[in-house]
Symmetry: C2
Subunit: 257 residues, 2 copies
């Protein structure tokens, strides 16, 4: 009955403080909404009933609704109630919303969209980074790549290092909106490694592609950096598309759906 029985990764800040109730409720409701359990246009039960059913106070529930409202998932008005907004108004670039999508198996269209976005953003960001990178950007990138080599993508540490590298490239672009896309890109990167891990094999060694991007950025060659990043993302795109098709052949996979 509780929509969150399946998701083990409750909201938990990196500082290790425990999840608060309003965060937990927002997480659970958010997952329920993006997974279609509550359809756009649908009206949620009123505050009193719903908070009672969820076994939380009205205050905590209201704060959870405020969070969802801030991310564009719901809209509440007196008398009308709190209703789920149209999916086009959801703030898909929000790190939490994206995480809620990935809490359950997300729509393949979203995966495709993320890769298309990566294919648009990352080469351009790499080109900018080649022009503007500071020494400390290169230091971060080099360290991330060395960690990738040391741990490999089969480990959590290696995947974190992978995302750290892509984040560093966006950082080095010295463009505030681009940097804000880091979490979105990171979700795409994470998804790549998820599929790679699922296959229990790495279809290719990702390191040469990564080092070529790094070298081009370090050398200050925008077009070389762009081209290298296109190759990198393109390879990841092909790997993921292949894995995605493979997983689609065995339908179902989620008993609750």
């Amino acid at each position: 009955m509780a929509p969150s029985d399946r998701t083990e990764d409750k909201p938990r800040r990196r500082t290790g403080n425990p999840a608060r109730i309003h965060g937990t409720i927002a997480h659970d409701l958010g997952v329920a909404i993006v997974s279609g359990q509550y359809q756009p246009g649908e009206t949620l039960p009123n505050e009193i009933d719903f908070s009672e059913r969820l076994k939380v106070s009205r205050s905590a529930y209201r704060e959870a609704v405020r969070i969802l409202s801030a991310k564009g998932l719901v809209e509440s008005r007196p008398k009308t109630g709190t209703r789920v907004t149209q999916a086009t108004r959801w703030n898909l670039l929000d790190p939490d919303v994206l995480a809620w999508y990935f809490a359950s198996e997300p729509d393949p269209k979203l995966i495709d969209g993320l890769f298309e976005l990566r294919m648009i953003i990352e080469p351009a960001a790499a080109a900018l980074a080649a022009e503007r990178r500071e020494p400390h950007h290169l230091t971060v990138m080099r360290e991330a790549l060395m960690n990738m080599e040391k741990h490999t993508l089969t480990t959590e540490a290696g995947q974190i290092a992978d995302r750290a590298f892509h984040d560093a490239v966006l950082d080095a672009s010295c463009n505030m909106p681009l940097r804000s896309l880091a979490s979105t890109i990171g979700a795409g990167v994470r998804w790549t490694t998820v599929y790679k891990a699922r296959k229990d094999e790495l279809p290719r060694d990702p390191m040469p592609d990564h080092w070529r991007v790094f070298d081009a950025i370090a050398a200050g060659g925008p077009e070389a950096a762009r081209s290298a990043m296109e190759d990198l993302v393109g390879a990841a795109l092909r790997d993921t598309a292949r894995a995605l098709r493979r997983s689609q052949k065995r339908p179902g996979g989620d008993d609750s759906g």
Copy 2:
């Protein structure tokens, strides 16, 4: 001392319902934070004192903080209090955060960043749109452009039509994350027209550029659409950059700063 005396556009949903207190507080605090009135790392006064000073209940204040927290602007923990997070963690792509930036005169680096983003995103989106557009996308685009012609960019209606056109292009790309960037792109578009209006002259007729984009998308030519959109955004970029340099020559401009 109220930080919002200057901003007339209080949060007011398109449906015309009045601003709620928590929304107003979130708006005011958000503007104060992104404008640097509260520095990152700084701790806000505790709930009781601050809510009393703001003349609102603790519930309403807490809901406002919850909104800001959902957008990554603050982080609150027991004993530590509520503190402003590092600017790199702010969710810049959030429509509200972006609006709060533009409530006061935003950092020119942000304007530049937005135009760079447009220059990256919009041509690629136009190319995708040329491949995937449905008839109703073209209908929306055509109507937007006709409204642009009828009202011109000197009017509010014309500017809305301008943003509607750019939104429609993103829509036609049939890519969920790209569509979510509509508000971000829209902020950039709006800023262009703001500067154009400020100069009380339109440096060039924007319509031919727009129609060329439309024609290319309607004809299904991805590269033509990309190229046309590059020209369009490039022209806007040059106009805005010129106006920005001009306005920087007369420093100050805002008595409260």
